[in-house]
Subunit: 299 residues, 4 copies
């Protein structure tokens, strides 16, 4: 409703549209989760309940915001990818970021008791901040995703070794830190093949722990996406197809309706896969094309 001489203040709001035809990544990060880990006595180096809760909250975000094509989570952070043709909220950064953060937070808090059955939440409650970054090409986007997964790998290998030295090796924090500082990470371009190097050595030779047998969720993080039938490898170059799109496609209404229906029927899954190699993307062309795939047959 029209409102008085004060209304001029509306004009101070600055527009913050994200550049069209770019991939929008919204990353959500836990605020002060080191304290939270201590407060609720989370397991080290990984607390399965905490990660399952992050994944459950992320799955709701992906389900409720169909413009999100894929999400990737590790530790207390989650990255949500909006397709480059997305026009949600006219691509206003603050609307997109705050909606993702709020939906994530609401579900994290609401689902807490499902995963932490005997540990009620108490103030200050867990909360998250968020930011949006635009990536112009599929290669930039995939490099972002790879960056997060390499980070997951590096941190998890470090943390696994660190906590093994403490829990099984009887070292204290400073001794473990010192020992690891002297053992640089092997040169890794990405996570292919057996990961060799000093940390694996320590785990295996001293503690008979084979890092490769650690749970996939800890080693690779979690990917969340709508699940359709995989296509044959080598039949599709998803990146090229996506980069060729110049602008939001003018779909017919019927087609848009059909896509929407298909999307809402699709199962949103949580997997722990290598997202650095081409295979993940090429076999799931819908992630980059934004066109729903074939519904998988019931088993």
């Amino acid at each position: 409703m029209a409102n008085s001489k004060f209304e001029y203040v509306k004009s101070f709001e600055q527009p913050d549209f994200l550049l069209p035809n770019t991939w929008i990544v919204v990353r959500v990060d836990g605020r002060g989760f080191t304290k939270l880990c201590a407060k609720y006595n989370l397991e080290k180096p990984n607390d399965k309940r905490a990660l399952d809760l992050m994944n459950a909250a992320a799955r709701v975000v992906v389900t409720e915001l169909p413009d999100i094509t894929v999400a990737y989570g590790v530790s207390d952070e989650y990255s949500f990818v909006f397709h480059k043709s997305c026009t949600l909220f006219e691509r206003r950064a603050s609307k997109i970021v705050s909606t993702v953060v709020s939906t994530f937070t609401a579900n994290y808090v609401h689902l807490w008791s499902t995963y932490f059955t005997n540990t009620p939440l108490s103030p200050p409650l867990p909360s998250f901040d968020g930011r949006a970054v635009c990536y112009p090409t599929v290669m930039n986007l995939r490099d972002y995703m790879s960056w997060r997964q390499v980070d997951c790998h590096i941190n998890n290998l470090y943390n696994t070794t660190f906590w093994t030295l403490i829990k099984l090796g009887g070292l204290d924090n400073r001794e473990a830190e010192k020992l690891l500082a002297a053992s640089p990470l092997p040169p890794l371009t990405h996570m292919q093949g057996t990961v060799s190097g000093d940390k694996n050595e320590i785990l295996f030779s001293q503690f008979k722990i084979n890092y490769n047998n650690e749970p996939e969720m800890y080693k690779k993080g979690s990917v969340v996406f709508r699940d359709y039938e995989l296509v044959e490898p080598g039949t599709h170059n998803a990146a090229e197809a996506a980069d060729a799109l110049a602008e939001p496609e003018q779909q017919s209404k019927t087609q848009a309706e059909k896509d929407k229906k298909k999307r809402s029927k699709a199962r949103v899954v949580i997997e722990h896969l290598d997202i650095i190699k081409d295979d993940f993307w090429d076999r799931r062309p819908w992630l980059l094309s934004n066109k729903p795939g074939k519904t998988p047959k019931e088993p």
Copy 2:
């Protein structure tokens, strides 16, 4: 930790610092609350439980973020004011907005069952979006606050009359709408004195309802702030003092520590006051000066 050839993607994040020496208002808005009202069967035109829950969540936000000097809420929205000298998160818009939205959401969801004792939440959960706007002067800031409170007044008077026509007058929605469309709001510069005009007339002449007797929370909205001893009216020009500040003051560490302690001890209160007139601001100089006031004597 250092991380591979993918790390270049970090450089795509754009800085979003808010202009220094300006008042930052973060407004949080309920997403799709019309649906939410229907789903949980909220009372019309005002549901006390819903407003109390909004206020409770806002109180936590103000308590946990001491850079917030005052907040104002009405309906499903809340505006949080950060002092112009605030340097939280280097004044990065996305960090500030997402932190406020996330803290608000977490507490809204967590406190839901306290206010809606027999109405459990179910997906999709309530969520909020947010935005930040900068105001250069105290007058701009106060005009913003006045804008929201005038809006509160206009909407509440309309809604009260609308729902009275339906509940007590037996009209249906369309009839009530039509009747009110023909009764324009009286010229209001602000909320001073008795609010006269057609809507009040309708309420009083047809239903013997005196709008002035409606609950203050519905008529004025809610203000949240740290409570200190009021100063004598006329002894202080808060706006002038605040506008004269050119930059974040260089406080001594001792002083900063003292202020912090005082702030953390202060009671964060929820009141329903006229924030348009000078009186509210002049008697609470700490709201604009960012210097804690005197702790009120125990009653």
Copy 3:
């Protein structure tokens, strides 16, 4: 040098980096050129001297800023394209825009007397404003260039007919406008083949003017670029190669030096070509690859 208590004001400058890995187009527009046309009595619908002067100024800009890969001008505007890998001024928008505008203006004013030999400049002097826009893909960039060239075509056909009706047909401005309003432009996807339609009809049937015989500069505008040997058509997909680049390439210093030398030796040419069709881009791969081509043999 260090400087006093006032230096804090530097922190109020806001960063304005343009998104990495996107094509930067800086468009320069004449300010108030309608007045300028009247003041210096420029010829209608096209003044060759004025266009030659625009082109001469643009050629200097392209020569002095080697990050510009191609430029396109029509009427009183010029668009300069910086390669997406460009890191000039850390991609700060205001630095890039102001440098282009200033260099263009300086040369426009300085070269004025070369093209307008008997018409000295007098205050207020011609000036230009500018803006920067980012395009994520080659297709977006080419669509931008096509947009400007189609605009050139539409306007020139209109203006040519308009001024013919006045100069040769004896109509006054209003009569000519009215007549043309009744003759909508033929459906044009782009400028292929003979342009048919009412305006051409008018020109030909009434005045025996064949629009296709008008000067290329008027019909197509002007393209400015470094000239190397053309490659065979069909041997190169320039767009695909350019889109595949994810980040500023890490060239060896020797290679960078070689490229720089080659670029500085290249002739900067002004041509009047169709830049909408693939042919222009495919035969000049250096425009999109940012790798200098082969120096053409001397004739």
Copy 4:
């Protein structure tokens, strides 16, 4: 005119409105003026012709853009202040910056031959870059202006001593630099009173040069503004009045016309005054109020 399927590219242009109710400072800086000084053999430490040319170009900018209330220049830079109520180009940063830079450049190049009568310009021509910064309060704005004038003072004292040591003292560049590095600048809060210290000492004791007798233009830089009758000192607090303005005033059309006329009649002067002390601002209230003063009586 409507234009094809390519027109969507327009939507990629990002808005860049400067925050309302803030002072806009556009600073223009010479690009590569060290080279330019060498090329045209400018006098050291100050070349009167070069400074006069800067001032002449700035005077035109202030004259042609009445939204500029005051400008300050030193060396190869000029700062133009737009009143906080300015709505020129809807406050779009790139339009404002590019217009100032272009107008300045055009006049600099055009007026060159007036000041450098025997030194024709040759490519590469002088050019300038520019940026816009917003200041919320008069104190911030004045601190910005003070920052530039203190800079002027520090640099000029240094340069004067440096070049005296070389020209009169027979030192070479390195020897002069070394000697001055050992002589730190005296603690200066601002330029009040006699400037004492080592550099003045060197000038006076070794060369009998009294720095205070150096030309005002070199010591203080140049201020450009519309000239009206000075008001009595102490009768006006310009800063307070200006800060109290909350939004662009709603002037009556008649008043706006009158102001415009007065402004266009006012003489734009170039002075060399202390702009750090209150006096300069308090005696010229029109600089901050944006209301034209009284036309001075003819002498």
